[in-house]
């Protein structure tokens, strides 16, 4: 009989023929347990967050009910609160930022991944990573000192003169407002789109490009018609990452949006977003109804992000099933 026994354990699931303590003494089970606790902790934190937001907004939920989503008034003095201007502002600024950032970002990513020499691509990627790391307050300062005057003096009057027949570009040019906030958000969000899309495009297998070229397509045709569709799900993922940042951005938005709970068809008009109003008014909120209304706005933002992320998931799953070869 050998003095020592060596047992070989498989990497697969452990069956119940050995006791839990025996299995725990193996590294595998312990590792599984610990990593499961970590994963469960993230779910637990999310659940706790929603729970706290829900219980912390009791008063306005009972007082306003669903009217909270339809009221345009935000009056701390008379105790009348409504979320509509803030939801509108959040969605409009996010939409403007995506409309600007998505074409620019994907175009830049295509250039960096497909058309630029490797050294140029890597150098530019370094700068883009730097841009992504800049704190949002700096973008706010950039907005206030550079973009706002530029908007007020040149861009808004020019848009008014050329496209003024569209209601989007009417109204006095203050420099701050939905459009400026959207532009600042676009600048903040482009690095995310470029980085992720570039990675995804680079990871498209060479065979795909070579096959397209072999069939006689031009360089651009192979890029646009073969490589990009192959990487479609990854690119969409980057867009939703950008959207998540744009929805939650606080400091940069509050410095350039004008902080007025306003719903207006014009992009030149000042507005407010959910994150901006919570950051602005939370510390001085006197009275329970006021404070809890701000907490309910937090819950609304969470729901908004949740719904949009859910849609993202569904879209990604649907397109990857259809394309049958995407990542």
């Amino acid at each position: 009989m050998a003095a020592t026994t060596t047992t070989v354990h498989s990497a697969g699931p452990v069956t119940g023929s050995r006791s839990f303590l025996d299995r725990l003494r193996d590294g595998d089970e312990l590792a599984r347990l610990i990593t499961f606790v970590f994963a469960a902790a993230t779910v637990l934190i999310t659940v706790l967050l929603v729970f706290e937001l829900w219980t912390g907004s009791v008063l306005p939920r009972h007082k306003f009910g669903l009217d909270f989503f339809l009221t345009r008034v935000w009056d701390p003095n008379s105790g009348d609160f409504g979320a509509l201007p803030f939801i509108y502002g959040t969605l409009v600024t996010a939409a403007v930022s995506l409309i600007i950032a998505v074409p620019l970002g994907i175009g830049a990513a295509i250039f960096l991944a497909e058309l630029a020499p490797a050294r140029v691509s890597d150098t530019l990627q370094f700068f883009i990573d730097l841009l992504a790391a800049v704190p949002s307050v700096i973008y706010g300062l950039l907005g206030v000192f550079i973009i706002v005057p530029m908007m007020r003096e040149y861009i808004q009057p020019a848009l008014n003169n050329t496209l003024g027949f569209i209601p989007l570009f009417t109204g006095p040019a203050y420099g701050i407002g939905f459009l400026t906030a959207g532009i600042v958000l676009a600048i903040m969000v482009i690095p995310y789109i470029i980085s992720v899309s570039r990675e995804v495009l680079l990871s498209v297998p060479r065979d795909q490009r070579e096959a397209a070229l072999a069939l006689g397509s031009t360089r651009w045709e192979s890029t646009w018609k073969v490589v990009v569709p192959f990487a479609r799900t990854g690119i969409m993922g980057s867009i939703f990452l950008a959207l998540a940042r744009a929805l939650g951005e606080t400091m940069a938005v509050t410095m350039v949006i004008g902080n007025t709970p306003n719903i207006s068809a014009s992009l030149f008009s000042p507005g407010y977003s959910i994150a901006a109003v919570i950051a602005d008014q939370f510390t001085e909120a006197t009275g329970d109804l006021y404070l809890q209304s701000l907490i309910e706005l937090g819950l609304v933002l969470f729901l908004l992000t949740f719904i949009l992320n859910g849609l993202a998931r569904i879209l990604i799953v649907a397109t990857s099933q259809r394309s049958g070869g995407g990542h």
Binding site: I176, G258, T260, D280, Q281, E284, T286
Partner: protein, 342 residues
């Protein structure tokens, strides 16, 4: 050997630290941002003069200060607007004894503007101020403004109104004044740290507001006197209840406090639109909120000592920071009221 030595060192250090902190009394307060420069100077100077007590102050905002002192997470609070009856009752219910207000310094809110081509000081009547912020007076050359400014070439441009976006004591003082001079404002909007502004863009903080005013032509906003003085921002004069156009400075702000006829025993009084020939009408006290009963007798005694110091030596330090001193009769009333703290 080394391990035992380092363990001993850690224990010795810990004991030393705990002994040191027991010798020093630490008092925590939180509240208004407006008097933060003068409070931080006071607490620093007081600690140098009387080494035993260390007072730590966080400028989180008047509303948060009131909340935290009611909750009991801090030992005292500070607010630019006095606590209302509801808040007083909430405190008394929770702690079983009332909370006391002690005015510390005087501040003022001034109208600031940016009209290209106009460098003169503009005179504002109460009607003009209320009209502009209600959105009724829309152009700079409106007769309501022009009639008080003969000789100044006001342009026929739209006024861009700028207010504070976040809740602020400055807004409270400004809207308190407007509520007193305009029934329309009082009924439509009211006063508060955060209100439903009829018109205007929101700037975040005094820096945000003055930044917007500086950048936007034909704009109009309001800012604390201390901020305007320390940053050389031009501001206008306001007509007081005696009919004189007064530009805010330390003398006119102190005059506003001196004009209070009956100071209530709890010092919760609004001095906006007060009487006095040279009084600046948009002035206000700022208050420390001190519990009448401290659970820790040492802290109570230290707070009393500090208050006495702030009403004496402390007042000598405020004018350098552009805050106005308290008038003498208010100081003597407060010294008597300190006796209420246990």
């Amino acid at each position: 050997m080394l391990r035992k030595l380092s363990a001993l060192l850690v224990v010795a250090l810990a004991t030393a630290v705990s002994l040191y902190s027991q010798g020093n009394l630490l008092i925590n307060g939180a509240g208004a941002t407006f008097p933060y420069p003068v409070y931080s100077k006071w607490f620093d100077e007081y600690h140098k003069a009387h080494g035993n007590a260390q007072i730590n102050y966080q400028s989180v905002g008047s509303g948060a200060g009131i909340k935290q002192v009611t909750e009991g997470t801090v030992d005292f609070g500070a607010s630019d607007g006095p606590m209302n009856d509801e808040q007083l009752k909430a405190y008394a219910d929770k702690h079983g004894s009332p909370i006391l207000h002690f005015p510390t310094v005087l501040g003022a809110v001034v109208p600031t503007y940016n009209i290209p081509g106009v460098s003169a000081t503009i005179n504002f009547t109460p009607e003009a101020l209320a009209g502009i912020f209600l959105g009724r007076v829309t152009k700079w050359n409106d007769p309501i403004i022009a009639s008080a400014n003969k000789g100044v070439n006001l342009p026929a441009k739209d006024i861009v109104v700028i207010h504070r976006s976040e809740g602020s004591g400055t807004t409270y003082i400004w809207t308190d004044y407007l509520s007193k001079v305009s029934d329309d404002w009082k009924n439509k909007v009211g006063k508060g740290t955060s209100i439903n502004w009829p018109v205007g863009l929101g700037g975040k903080g005094s820096e945000g507001l003055t930044g917007l005013v500086k950048q936007t032509p034909n704009s109009f906003g309001y800012v604390e006197l201390t901020y305007a003085a320390q940053n050389n921002i031009p501001y206008g004069a306001v007509k007081n209840s005696s009919g004189t156009f007064v530009k805010a400075d330390l003398a006119s702000v102190s005059a506003a406090a001196a004009g209070v006829k009956d100071m209530p025993a709890d010092f919760r009084v609004s001095i906006t639109n007060g009487s006095g020939k040279n009084a600046y009408p948009i002035s206000s006290f700022t208050w420390l909120l001190i519990p009448s009963k401290f659970s820790d007798a040492g802290k109570g005694a230290a707070m009393k000592e500090f208050l006495k110091w702030s009403l004496g030596d402390g007042q000598g330090l405020v004018e350098a920071l552009s805050y106005a001193k308290l008038p003498k009769d208010v100081v003597s009333k407060e010294l008597k009221a300190i006796g209420q703290i246990q």
